[in-house]
């Protein structure tokens, strides 16, 4: 039905375009310079005139017909059954299956009748949509056809429409943010305040609890295992791994940037830049595989050699590899800000007799400081939100520890663990993932906003 409708619409649109264009030729009668708009715009104008009502009718008609068909089917069942939402949804599902011929077993007579009625209504409705749409399209075609004249400003109309389309595209990004905020906030709100939810924590319990154990909330018969939604162990785990990562990536990234910007010959730059880009382009699932199967066992055996107890999923392994992942991020951002420091500052320092490293330490780095700080904050935000490396190389147990050789878990690991597989949206466990997602979104957003603000506010203005 949709295919037929849009097929017909496409035909009508094409026809409308050519009708409108040839009409403008006819109106101009050879004096094209007198036409306000090019014939192409007249064609587009008529086509858009057809497009708008047909799309509107489709968008309004389809849900309406579906609702009517449902209504027709449900009228075969007694009202007391229909008042129970569970039975109602079961009936609707069965009717859909009978109508599609996929019902397992022999449907009851009522079901058959209901399905027949639903199909009947659906078909009638579909016909109505198709003919209604065609009629409206034709009417619009004729109406816009008569609009065309020598002075008619078809181009203005078309351009106005184009601007609206462009604006809508720009708003998609905003809608995405709104979608994220609302979906995550809504479930988070339910997690804390929905009275029908069993085992939900208070906000304070969540923020300051030191035990994380969402699994116990799964089954009722596990009553004696205490469910706990304490966020602190996840926070410390995330911070520990992030700290290790920044400890690795910070110095390496900044020194790489300094070397590339100030010391490296063009030939070395031509080699080193792509290497950093390759590192930036390696998917994190690959780095996770490397962390879990190569780095973690290596650290473990090294620890054993020195007589240390290293967990097989140590925070150190995940943090090291994550640090490596962030290096290109920090180095490219720092490279940009170092290059933005004007040459005159360097020349001034050299003229005073400073060596290159003194110039860098005492002139360039202070000038680029805000940019580098902002790069670090963006890197921290990236590390906190990184998922695959920690999912593959960090543990699941929520240990409250700062020992990098122990296994810790992170916010992203817990979100992934809870949400992989089937979920029901009415368990505290599932909603806990959304609460974690909210925290993650909020923290990274704040870090980004502050980073951008620092970069803007404290940027040294030269020239």
């Amino acid at each position: 039905m949709s295919l037929t409708y849009f097929g017909l619409m496409l035909l009508l649109l094409t026809a409308a375009f050519f009708v409108g264009r040839s009409r403008s030729y006819a109106v101009a009668g050879g004096r094209f310079a007198d036409l306000h708009s090019l014939p192409v715009y007249h064609g587009l104008f008529v086509a858009l005139g057809v497009f708008a009502p047909m799309v509107l009718i489709y968008m309004a008609g389809v849900p309406l017909v579906r609702y009517l068909a449902q209504d027709a089917a449900l009228s075969f069942f007694p009202p007391d059954v229909l008042n129970d939402p569970l039975q109602r949804s079961v009936i609707l599902r069965d009717v859909v299956r009978v109508a599609a011929g996929q019902f397992a077993g022999e449907p009851s007579a009522t079901l058959k009748d209901a399905a027949a009625a639903a199909i009947n209504t659906q078909n009638t409705g579909d016909m109505a949509i198709i003919f209604g749409g065609l009629a409206a399209g034709l009417a619009a075609l004729i109406a816009s056809f008569w609009q065309i004249s020598l002075r008619f400003r078809a181009r203005h109309w078309v351009e106005r429409f184009v601007i609206i389309v462009l604006g809508v595209c720009a708003i998609v990004a905003v809608l995405t943010t709104i979608g994220i905020v609302f979906s995550v906030m809504f479930e988070t709100y339910r997690f804390f305040f929905d009275p029908s939810l069993k085992g939900r924590p208070t906000v304070l319990e969540f923020l300051f609890g030191t035990e994380w154990n969402p699994q116990a909330a799964m089954r009722a018969d596990q009553g004696d295992i205490k469910t706990a939604f304490g966020f602190i162990p996840l926070l410390t785990g995330t911070l520990l791994i992030t700290f290790i990562a920044i400890l690795v990536a910070g110095p390496l990234g900044v020194f790489s940037a300094i070397y590339l910007a100030e010391y490296a010959s063009p030939r070395l730059r031509a080699v080193a830049k792509p290497v950093l880009e390759i590192l930036a382009g390696i998917p994190t699932v690959v780095l996770g595989f490397f962390a879990a199967l190569t780095v973690a066992p290596l650290i473990r055996s090294m620890g054993e050699y020195y007589g240390l107890d290293v967990a097989s999923e140590s925070a150190l392994a995940a943090g090291l590899v994550m640090g490596m992942m962030i290096i290109p991020f920090i180095s490219s951002l720092s490279d940009d800000v170092i290059n933005a420091v004007p040459q005159s500052l360097r020349d001034g320092a050299y003229a005073l007799g400073a060596t290159k490293s003194e110039t860098i330490r005492q002139v360039i780095l202070p000038a680029a400081f805000a940019g580098i700080v902002s790069a670090f904050m963006l890197a921290i935000s990236r590390a906190i939100g990184e998922t695959m490396i920690v999912v593959m190389a960090a543990g699941l147990a929520a240990n409250l520890t700062f020992n990098p050789l122990d296994a810790v878990t992170t916010i992203t690991v817990q979100i992934k663990t809870i949400l992989v597989g089937d979920q029901e949206f009415d368990s505290a466990k599932t909603l806990a993932a959304f609460a974690l997602g909210f925290v993650l979104f909020f923290v990274t957003l704040m870090l980004n906003l502050i980073a951008n603000r620092i970069a803007h506010k404290y940027r040294e203005q030269y020239d």
Partner: protein, 557 residues
């Protein structure tokens, strides 16, 4: 002027200069080494997975088994029972295997899909039925892994004296003319000594933690030491010692106990006769890694070694890897399903991102009025680019699956989520490309009477297109490698069939990598690395294309 203190200061300054420079070079070097380590590690782990081993055996295809009514219908031929045929063919290739357990181990060498190739061969050419043909049978992943090496070393020591077996099958005793097993017994005692060293290391750890465990280890060490200290007392072999076998009279005997002059053992491959074996005609074979420490048993090693010696093992390119979907059996698992899933997903992503992203960029760069609302859009896009990808997964789960009721694991949903994820990247790249077009172009168009939209769409946008394409390809590469949001929307499924439509259950290449990396079988580890290699090659080609586009079409104004 140049006092000593001054010279010292100069020296110090130059030294710190050199140090500083060295730090920079070192940082770059460490990063480069890491990249090389990752890539090398993946390639070393993944390369073996592109090859696999099969047996090439003569198989007599009886018409009664495959197509009794001579229909020559491929459907009938495909539906026939190949299990028995495969099993009997293999048993014919390794004759004389006795005992239920040994037979089971022999059968287990074959993959459960061993007969797939034969089946397709017969279906394609039914005239082969009734003939004896050479066909290829896929080995199981464990057998394949053994043949690729690394499981155990095999050492051969030529026998010196004369050995007399007490029989040709079953449990037999081997008697030597003099102390011909003395060297082998020494090797066994040495292996025991090595084991004691290992236990001592465990003991140190146990003493710190678990006293009961430490006590048990101490007892075990004492027992082993008693055995080592009596060099000529016979040893009973166990799975924690290297396996000793005697190859003689065309057969193979696995030793269960060994003394200086005699040994007891079980016949694995039957001896042709119970005659004396003269010096030089028999060998003591050692599988150096103890049976308990490897995935493959002595029996299986012996069978495979015999098949290999008979020239029946073939190493060939692993086409299954590129033509099959996922499977529980490592040797039958392939990436085609996940690759198709990724392609379907990326087509959705591209269909959303390219038009929406470019049009949004055109709006923001060329038409948007400067007011608070467009400011919000701008800030929003910049921040959206930095939102963790897993949050987009939450969005997909809550909105597309829960609210709109779209199917789980569908490439459609994955594509939508990835579309939203890379949209900011594409908008930012497109805006940069539009900005790079000099205003003179637009002004010239406006000057000859074009409308603003005509100037933008006819002149500015085409000139910005190479830059936009470069940004789009890089965005798509980013989307291809993204895994975390896919986990949220059920793309982590076990999907055997290659998906054909946007609403089929599917997985994506990086999700497949994640699934395989979690599996315990060693063979899947190689598969994971191989799948990563495929992913990296695709990404490399995409990024290479983007760079090439940039070089080829970029114009400096």
């Amino acid at each position: 002027m140049t006092s000593d203190a001054f010279k010292a200061r100069i020296k110090k300054r130059y030294r710190s200069e050199a140090m500083f420079r060295a730090y920079g070079a070192l940082s770059l070097a460490i990063t480069a080494v890491f990249v090389i380590a990752v890539v090398t590690d993946i390639v070393v782990k993944g390369m073996p997975a592109f090859w696999q081993h099969s047996l090439v055996l003569d198989v007599t295809v009886k018409a009664d088994d495959i197509d009794p009514k001579a229909t020559k219908d491929p459907a009938v031929i495909r539906a026939a029972d190949y299990f028995t045929l495969t099993r009997d063919t293999l048993r014919a290739a390794v004759p004389g295997v006795e005992g239920r357990l040994a037979k089971k181990e022999l059968d287990g060498l074959m993959s459960s899909g061993a007969a797939n190739e034969l089946r397709e061969m017969l279906a394609a050419d039914p005239s082969l039925i009734g003939q004896t043909i050479k066909a290829r049978f896929l080995l199981s992943d464990d057998a394949d892994l053994y043949l690729k090496g690394g499981e155990t070393e095999i050492e051969k020591f030529p026998g010196r004296g004369v050995v007399t077996p007490s029989g040709t099958t079953g449990e037999i005793t081997l008697l030597t003319s003099s102390n011909d097993f003395a060297d082998d017994l020494v090797r066994v005692k040495k292996a025991l000594a090595v084991r004691i060293d290992g236990l001592r290391r465990d003991l140190r750890r146990a003493e710190r933690g678990d006293p009961g465990w430490a006590e048990r280890i101490r007892e075990e060490i004492a027992g082993l030491e008693a055995r080592v200290n009596q060099p000529s007392v016979a040893e009973t072999m166990d799975a924690n010692l290297p396996s000793l076998l005697v190859a003689m009279n065309g057969g193979l005997v696995k030793l269960t106990s060994i003394g200086n002059a005699d040994a007891k053992g079980t016949v694995i491959l039957p001896l042709t006769s119970a005659a004396d074996a003269q010096p030089g005609t028999w060998d003591v074979v050692t599988y150096t890694r103890p049976e308990a420490n490897r995935k493959i048993s002595d029996l299986e090693v012996s069978f495979l070694e015999k098949l290999k010696a008979d020239g029946k093992v073939q190493n060939h390119f692993n086409t299954i890897f590129f033509t099959a979907g996922d499977s529980r059996e490592a040797e039958l698992a392939g990436i085609l399903g996940s690759l198709m899933g990724s392609i379907l997903m990326l087509s959705v992503t591209l269909a959303i991102c390219l038009p929406v992203g470019v049009l949004a960029a055109v709006y923001l760069e060329e038409f948007a009025p400067k007011n608070w609302f467009t400011d919000i859009i701008e800030i929003n896009i910049n921040n959206l680019a930095a939102v963790p990808s897993i949050v987009f997964g939450l969005l997909g789960l809550a909105v597309f699956l829960n609210f709109f009721g779209l199917p789980r694991s569908a490439p459609l949903v994955g594509g939508l989520v990835l579309g939203l994820l890379v949209l900011p990247t594409i908008i930012i790249a497109s805006r940069a490309a539009l900005k790079a077009v000099p205003p003179s172009i637009k002004e010239a168009a406006l000057g000859v009477g074009a409308s603003k939209q005509q100037a933008v769409f006819h002149h500015v946008l085409p000139l910005a297109m190479p830059g936009i394409m470069t940004g789009t390809i890089i965005g798509m590469a980013h989307a291809l490698g993204e895994t975390a949001p896919l986990l949220m929307i059920g793309m982590l499924a076990f999907v055997v069939d290659v998906p054909g439509s946007l609403t089929d259950s599917a997985t994506a290449l990086p999700a497949q990598i994640f699934i395989w990396s979690d599996l315990p079988e060693a063979a899947f580890q190689a598969k994971t690395a191989a799948a990563i290699m495929v992913l990296l090659v695709v990404l490399f080609v995409m990024n290479g294309t983007a760079i090439w586009l940039r070089r080829r079409f970029e114009r400096r104004w």
